[in-house]
């Protein structure tokens, strides 16, 4: 599903964010990418969603070599990848429905279909009753769930969660992790980028550990080793 072959990312003048990264994530896997701040976790995400391009190496997503992807291909790629961020990235002046529908409206989906899909994803994240609320009327855990719902609308092959529990208390954090696990059970490949030790150890899933831009560990049923 996701393949990184000898990928490096260099920032001028002398900063290697990633060095010679190699890994392969199969379809339907749940993988945690861990590391301290500056290890290169966010760089990996930015490369996957083509926000940046690798300096060296090759990146393949779902059989598509995106190493030198053209600008007009980026929207198509991003519709196949759902992304959830630590800072949620919701629009405060739009309701829950409108925030989620936004992702579908940008791709020409009909109004009827939008209503159907939004209803479905809100059911997955258990927020159907909050459909007409604004983000500032929701709890922080609910906001993150709306964010996850939006990431699911295009039925992505890959769901990337970049520090999704970073701003959450332990109880909400656990809820989000459980939700991600549930999504993975439906068949979606999930890439969780985190430095939450408890979540990683709880999941008992594959763990790729980064340090100073290199992979220092890649274990099935791994643990947080830093």
């Amino acid at each position: 599903m996701i393949k990184f072959s000898n990928v490096s990312k260099f920032y001028y003048p002398d900063n290697y964010a990633l060095r010679d990264i190699n890994f392969r994530i199969k379809s339907g896997e749940f993988v945690s990418i861990v590391g301290q701040s500056g290890a290169g976790k966010s760089t990996i995400i930015r490369l996957i969603i083509a926000e940046e391009q690798a300096t060296e190496g090759k990146i393949v997503i779902g059989g598509w070599d995106i190493t030198n992807i053209r600008r007009r291909g980026i929207p198509i790629l991003r519709r196949q990848i759902g992304v959830v961020f630590q800072d949620f990235k919701l629009l405060s002046k739009r309701t829950v429905f409108e925030n989620i529908a936004f992702a579908l409206e940008t791709t020409g989906v009909t109004t009827q279909k939008i209503k159907q899909i939004v209803g479905q994803v809100l059911k997955i994240v258990n927020l159907k009753e909050k459909i007409n609320r604004f983000p500032d009327e929701l709890s922080i855990g609910e906001i993150q769930r709306v964010s996850i719902a939006r990431a699911l609308v295009h039925r992505p092959k890959v769901l990337i969660a970049d520090e999704p529990t970073g701003n959450l208390d332990p109880i909400n954090a656990q809820d989000i992790i459980n939700l991600l696990k549930k999504i993975n059970e439906f068949g979606t490949t999930v890439l969780l980028v985190t430095h939450n030790r408890e979540s990683v150890n709880y999941l008992k899933a594959r763990v790729i550990t980064l340090e100073k831009g290199r992979i220092i560990s890649d274990r099935q049923q791994g643990r947080y080793i830093l």
Partner: protein
């Protein structure tokens, strides 16, 4: 495709209403810019027209000797028409000259009585020469002075106009030139101001642009709502400015006409109708283009 088009319009309208205060301020500033530019362009037109009106009043009159054959007068007229700078030559017969003279001096009984005493018409015919442009008068004067038929010409009425013509040339050139410079500076300031206003407006929506980009919207789908919203702002501002300007012009025009003699046969409304394209058409097109350019530059910054 049609769904996307509807959505773009919908997003633009929603953004306009959701950011109503920002939209209102933008519109107010655009109204001021439009009004100022309309006023500058109109005053430039008025200035050129009034200068042109004054120029048209300038002419050279050749007062001919009395009792000259019509054939000789026609011959003289034909020779004058060869001169390249001459627009037209008006022939006033001796009788018409006398009638005009009586009319001009009807409040001077002594002169009228003296005329009544005479048995013959003391006045000759007049040839009134109008030039194509104010700059041609000196060429025409030289040409007239070099004509072989000098004995036919009793008097050339140009000396008192000479200074006027020279001064008019100088003033006309400087006024128009100065007016253009001031207008250009002001228009440039307005353009820069509106350019930055649009960029600021888009800056406040950078989060939206970022999210649209992340969820898979194409670059054009992201750009177009801001473009359309800008067009909405500009259209509303233009309409309001046009209405204000029309009222203002209705009030100002009569006063300007008294001093500058813009036109005797045009009303304020007719004046604006005649120059509608020049005053209002070009400015709205210009601002549409400015909107496209500044929206494009501002949005692209957040797309990269």
């Amino acid at each position: 495709m049609f769904i996307n088009f509807k959505r773009i319009i919908k997003f633009a309208g929603q953004d306009f209403l959701r950011n109503f205060w920002l939209s209102s301020i933008t519109i107010i500033i655009l109204i001021m810019a439009f009004f100022s530019i309309s006023l500058l362009i109109t005053l430039n037109i008025v200035l050129k027209q009034s200068i042109s009106a004054i120029e048209k009043k300038v002419d050279i009159s050749l007062y001919l000797e009395p009792n000259i054959d019509q054939e000789k007068i026609n011959n003289l007229k034909n020779q004058l028409l060869v001169c390249p700078g001459i627009e037209e030559i008006k022939y006033i017969s001796a009788e018409e000259s006398l009638t005009e003279f009586r009319s001009e001096h009807q409040d001077k009984p002594l002169i009228i009585e003296s005329l009544d005493e005479l048995t013959n018409n003391p006045l000759g015919a007049t040839l009134v020469i109008k030039a194509k442009s104010i700059n041609d008068y000196f060429t025409i004067l030289n040409y007239v002075n070099n004509l072989p038929e000098q004995e036919l010409i009793q008097h050339k009425d140009y000396l008192q106009h000479k200074i006027l013509i020279q001064q008019l040339n100088k003033i006309s050139y400087h006024l128009v030139y100065f007016g253009l410079i001031i207008s250009s500076i002001f228009i440039l300031i307005s353009i820069l101001f509106v350019f930055n206003l649009i960029r600021l407006s888009i800056y406040t929506r950078r989060k939206e642009i970022e999210i649209m980009h992340l969820v898979g919207a194409t670059d054009w789908f992201i750009r177009l709502p801001y473009l359309v919203e800008g067009l909405i702002h500009i259209t509303i501002a233009w309409i309001i400015s046009f209405l204000f300007f029309t009222l203002f012009w209705q009030w100002l025009f009569p006063y300007l006409n008294i001093f500058l003699e813009i036109s005797n046969d045009l009303s304020a409304t007719a004046f604006l109708q005649r120059y509608f394209g020049l005053i209002f058409g070009i400015e709205i097109l210009g601002f549409f283009l400015l909107n496209i350019l500044s929206s494009g530059v501002a949005v692209d910054k957040y797309l990269k």
